[in-house]
């Protein structure tokens, strides 16, 4: 456990700085979201007892941040090789935990996914992200994805899909979707781009099938295919079975959308997609969240209403305002300037993480770095997207901003394991 000389110099302080800035700004907005104009005396020095202060999210968030600092120290002090060595052990433990959680957890908000350890509530699904990232990175380092070894690919797919399947079983679909982000890391390591293209095309077809009359869609697709063949008859001769099956799959998807929509998706999931297409579809249910969230952000204007001056968030028009919808508080009180600061901070963090990832000499380190960036990006895109009506309402937090211990600890761990690995990269070269 001996730390190398001038260890502190090898920590990437830029990332640490961005992290600290985001956590600090996040806390300010959690404070604003839990601030009540009727009881403004709920400040830190108002003489309230610890028990009374624990009723406030902003106070608990201070405790979460303090513990996160302790966590950071532990994470960077641990020998970097431990993450590599114990990746599969951690993975196995996590799978076991995910398996038993639904049986020992009390149901909270419709899902049995929270473990209670005394006063602390933890969501194993949050920690599944960095553990899975470690495990797949470790495995990636041992194979060559580019060589298209079927067995290797299947093992990787299994490692990636097992946690989300267990999480879906615990009814936390939003957290499970995050695992889709790993595809970006695999792409960087050599996965065929065709998989991304097919997935993107499938997504586009599903969305189009909901928006455009189905026969038009099929007609347009058939016409395009026919034009391609007319221009280049050779393609038709060489790839007739493939072309026909692609056509059949697309047509099947277009007409299968209704089945998927009505029979596969759960009721609340279907509504969330309907609302995305037409916000007035469910004005008092899911549509309410989206509409009120947009009103709160939209009413902020260019520079916002000022710190603690937001009316939409103060008066409970926006639900889940300190957790999943924390971005509303930013939008309402700080305006476009504030929201752009948040977007730019995320871009800076992601750019720095990619930069750090690229300078890793080991496949393990680089893959892990890309996993970190992909996971943070997925949260960023979906969370902000849902508050402004560009993505369906999925219950995942905004990293480092949303209130919540599990979320803050999980992203802290995710990020600082990368920094710990990065700090030792010169040693790695020596090895």
């Amino acid at each position: 456990m001996a730390l190398p000389a001038r260890y502190s110099r090898s920590i990437d302080w830029v990332t640490v700085g961005i992290y600290a800035l985001m956590v600090g700004l996040g806390w300010l907005n959690v404070y604003a979201a839990s601030y009540s104009p009727e009881a403004p005396a709920g400040g830190l020095f108002s003489g309230l007892s610890f028990q009374e202060l624990m009723a406030f999210n902003w106070f608990k968030q201070i405790l979460w941040i303090a513990t996160a600092v302790v966590l950071i120290v532990i994470l960077v002090v641990i020998d970097y090789k431990a993450y590599d060595t114990f990746a599969f052990v951690l993975y196995g433990t996590m799978i076991a935990l995910l398996l038993i959680t639904p049986f020992i957890a009390r149901p909270i908000a419709g899902s049995r996914s929270w473990l209670e350890l005394g006063p602390v509530r933890l969501q194993p699904a949050e920690f599944a992200k960095f553990i899975t990232a470690l495990a797949v990175s470790r495995y990636m380092a041992s194979i060559n994805l580019r060589q298209q070894n079927f067995r290797d690919q299947m093992v990787l797919a299994g490692l990636t899909l097992l946690p989300p399947l267990l999480i879906v079983a615990a009814n936390e679909t939003g957290q499970a979707l995050v695992f889709g982000a790993f595809l970006l890391a695999y792409f960087r390591e050599g996965m065929s781009p065709l998989i991304l293209i097919i997935l993107a095309a499938a997504g586009a077809i599903l969305i189009l099938a909901l928006l455009v009359p189905k026969l038009w869609l099929v007609g347009a697709f058939t016409t395009i295919l026919a034009l391609v063949f007319a221009a280049n008859p050779k393609v038709l001769r060489h790839h007739l079975p493939l072309s026909l099956s692609v056509w059949a799959v697309v047509v099947g998807m277009v007409f299968g959308v209704d089945f998927f929509f009505n029979n596969v998706l759960q009721d609340h999931q279907r509504k969330r997609i309907e609302v995305l297409i037409n916000p007035s579809a469910d004005p008092l249910g899911v549509g309410w969240n989206v509409t009120q969230s947009k009103i709160a952000i939209g009413s902020g204007g260019l520079v916002g209403k000022g710190f603690l001056q937001g009316t939409q968030t103060k008066f409970d028009f926006v639900p889940e305002q300190s957790t999943d919808f924390i971005f509303c508080t930013v939008g309402e009180e700080w305006g476009w300037v504030g929201t752009m600061v948040v977007v730019v901070l995320f871009m800076a963090l992601l750019a720095r993480v990619l930069f750090v990832a690229e300078r890793q000499k080991s496949v393990f380190g680089r893959t892990y770095g890309y996993c970190v960036a992909s996971i943070i990006f997925f949260h960023f895109a979906i969370n902000i997207g849902m508050t402004i009506g560009l993505a369906p309402v999925v219950g995942i937090p905004l990293p480092l901003f949303s209130y919540g211990g599990s979320s803050l600890w999980s992203f802290t761990t995710l990020l600082f394991i990368l920094l710990a690995i990065d700090a030792y990269r010169k040693q790695d070269l020596v090895r």
């Binding site: 580019r146 009120q292 009103i295 939409q312 008066f315 476009w336 871009m347 990619l354």
Partner: protein, 610 residues
């Protein structure tokens, strides 16, 4: 491995594209699209209007006529109503089951969570009956507000009434400040002085949370305004005189207008048949209004301002005064009582001068007076001569305030009609009519129409010897004195000296031996009444009786016009009624009880059946 490194740009580009899309979308909804700001205000801002205390109305002696008393609305929040014992509830409210069910349905339709009125305008005793039991009926509550109540049973027409604003009114820009369900004055003084009586509404902006619970003032009340109570009206009505007049008009149709000629103040204005002002207030007001509206006697019709009749013989004084001013006759000019020109009322001494003519209401005399005024040889064409003469005659007649609105402070006033040459051109053709066509005007019959108010104003003008003040109800608003528009003299075209010459005739009508208005004499009290009877020919039935007068003749304090429909000759009914009013006003009490007895009942008794 080298070629894979290029893929980092793909990842970076993906991140950047999403960030740019967010930036653009946020710019659109935060900066470009203003509708979200409005939606936010709609969410949180609640406008609470404070309705101020409506101004009170007093009579000329400071007696309170109209005040505000609390009434109560039974409110219901449909969602909170649990297992309603409808039978007991209806018994408690003394309302039919049907009505309660219907009102509940309407309330539910309006909102399940917001309170809406189930029964409105409960009086204090009605409230007392149900309040204690209300605890057994969850979802029902009482809301107090102020409504009009009346300390008098009289002058309903002049006071007007207050009611809820109708959707048609709400659309007019004048009523932009009103909200559905607001009250306002609909007729009479309540309507004319609405802006004064209503005061200024206060508005408070409150912030509410998602459940509609108040969260304090918006921006510390920066935009709030306080309500200002309405101002009181001090009317010129003598409520005792008004009450007496309404008592006398009981069972008849017609009007009484009494003015103070020295100021133009209206002392009493009776429109018969009448109704009590309290009818148009409180619970069930709508139904009672419809009853009044459908009553064939038309009690809502404000006769002294809206009914125009030919004035009859009362008009002869105006005719004479105009002729004197034109210089075509003198007070001593004799005309013969020539029945070939026009029938006269009765056989009487020769009208050697205007006094004898007025006293006997000699029709041929005034036929000839007007002929002298109209046919003055201005044109060799006798038709053109009549046209020019009538135009000049009309101009002078209209200076008495006839044929146009006097400008009383009440919206329903009619202007009446003094026919113009053009009117006859239209009816008979240009140069197809002469004096013989229009002579009825000389005795106040024919196409002429005037209101009761205008008739009383003629008396005020003669009493003042040549001028009048615009008749009005309101002497002062709040602490203020007379309104400037009512302190301005309106002078007629006739010289004051000529007025003196018609007054002896009017006195003779009342006090002269064989005068047509002897029943109006107050000589026993030393009060000299100057008056004139009138009988208005009515093609639809019995003639209408009129009497107009002022007293005391030498220092007039009251000018009065009485109009009783279908009561025949003015001297038998209208004259004694007017004299009772004068007695009441000048002496404070009435001792000639036999006339009160004489006037009881309907107008029929005064008509001699042939």
């Amino acid at each position: 491995m080298q070629y894979l490194e290029g893929r980092k740009y793909v990842v970076q580009a993906l991140f950047l594209v999403v960030a740019l899309v967010f930036g653009a979308r946020l710019f659109y909804i935060q900066v470009l699209d203003g509708s979200y700001k409005l939606a936010a205000d709609r969410n949180t801002l609640q406008r609470i209007v404070q309705v101020p205390y409506r101004g009170l109305i007093y009579d000329r002696n400071g007696q309170l006529l109209v005040q505000n008393t609390p009434v109560y609305d039974l409110m219901v929040v449909p969602r909170e109503v649990k297992q309603l014992d409808t039978a007991r509830f209806c018994q408690l409210l003394q309302l039919p089951l049907e009505e309660v069910r219907e009102n509940l349905k309407a309330a539910r339709k309006y909102s399940r969570v917001k309170a809406s009125p189930l029964v409105q305008n409960l009086s204090t005793p009605e409230l007392a009956a149900i309040q204690d039991n209300l605890i057994d009926f969850p979802g029902f509550s009482i809301k107090a507000r102020m409504a009009r109540s009346y300390k008098t049973e009289n002058m309903a027409h002049a006071l007007g009434y207050v009611g809820a604003i109708t959707p048609a009114f709400l659309e007019k820009p004048k009523y932009a400040k009103y909200l559905p369900g607001d009250n306002l004055g609909i007729t009479g003084l309540e309507s004319f002085y609405e802006s004064v009586l209503m005061g200024r509404r206060g508005v408070q902006y409150r912030m509410v949370n998602v459940r509609g619970i108040e969260k304090g003032a918006f921006r510390n009340g920066e935009f709030d305004t306080l309500s200002v109570a309405g101002q009181d009206l001090h009317t010129s009505i003598d409520i005792e005189l008004q009450k007496y007049g309404e008592m006398l008009m009981q069972g008849k149709r017609g009007s009484i207008v009494a003015l103070d000629p020295k100021t133009g103040e209206i002392l009493a204005m009776v429109s018969a048949p009448m109704y009590e002002p309290s009818i148009l207030t409180g619970k069930g007001m709508g139904n009672r209004y419809m009853e009044l509206l459908n009553n064939p006697e038309r009690p809502l019709f404000n006769r002294p301002l809206m009914a125009t009749y030919p004035p009859g013989s009362v008009f002869k004084m105006v005719n004479e005064l105009v002729a004197l001013q034109m210089g075509v006759v003198t007070p001593e000019t004799p005309f013969d009582c020539n029945w070939k020109l026009v029938r006269c009322t009765h056989r009487h001494e020769a009208p050697r001068n205007v006094t004898i003519a007025i006293k006997n209401s000699c029709n041929p005399y005034f036929y000839q007076v007007m002929r002298a005024s109209v046919l003055r040889g201005r044109s060799t064409n006798r038709f053109e001569d009549a046209r020019l003469g009538l135009a000049e005659w009309r101009r002078q007649v209209m200076s008495f305030g006839l044929g146009s609105k006097l400008g009383v402070d009440m919206a329903s006033e009619k202007k009446g009609m003094i026919p113009s040459p053009e009117f006859y051109d239209k009816a008979y053709g240009y140069h197809r009519w002469g004096y013989k066509t229009v002579y009825s005007l000389s005795i106040g019959q024919g196409e002429i129409g005037i209101t009761g108010l205008q008739m009383a104003n003629i008396m005020a003008t003669i009493a003042n010897r040549g001028y009048y003040y615009t008749p009005h109800f309101v002497r002062g608003i709040g602490q203020g004195g007379p309104l400037p528009e009512y302190t301005q003299r309106h002078v007629t075209t006739v010289d004051p000296k000529y007025f003196e010459t018609v007054i002896p005739g009017m006195q003779a009508v009342v006090d002269g031996r064989g005068g047509t208005g002897n029943f109006a004499s107050l000589a026993q009290f030393g009060i000299s009444v100057a008056g004139k009877t009138g009988t208005v020919q009515n093609p639809h039935g019995d003639d209408h009786a009129t009497f107009a007068a002022f007293a005391p003749a030498e220092d007039p304090k009251i000018a009065i016009a009485v109009f009783i429909e279908n009561a025949g000759f003015g001297g038998t009914s209208a004259a004694p009624l007017a004299s009772l009013m004068i007695e009441k006003y000048l002496r404070g009490k009435v001792v000639r009880k036999k006339w009160e007895y004489w006037l009881q009942g309907s107008a029929d008794k005064f008509v001699k059946r042939r």
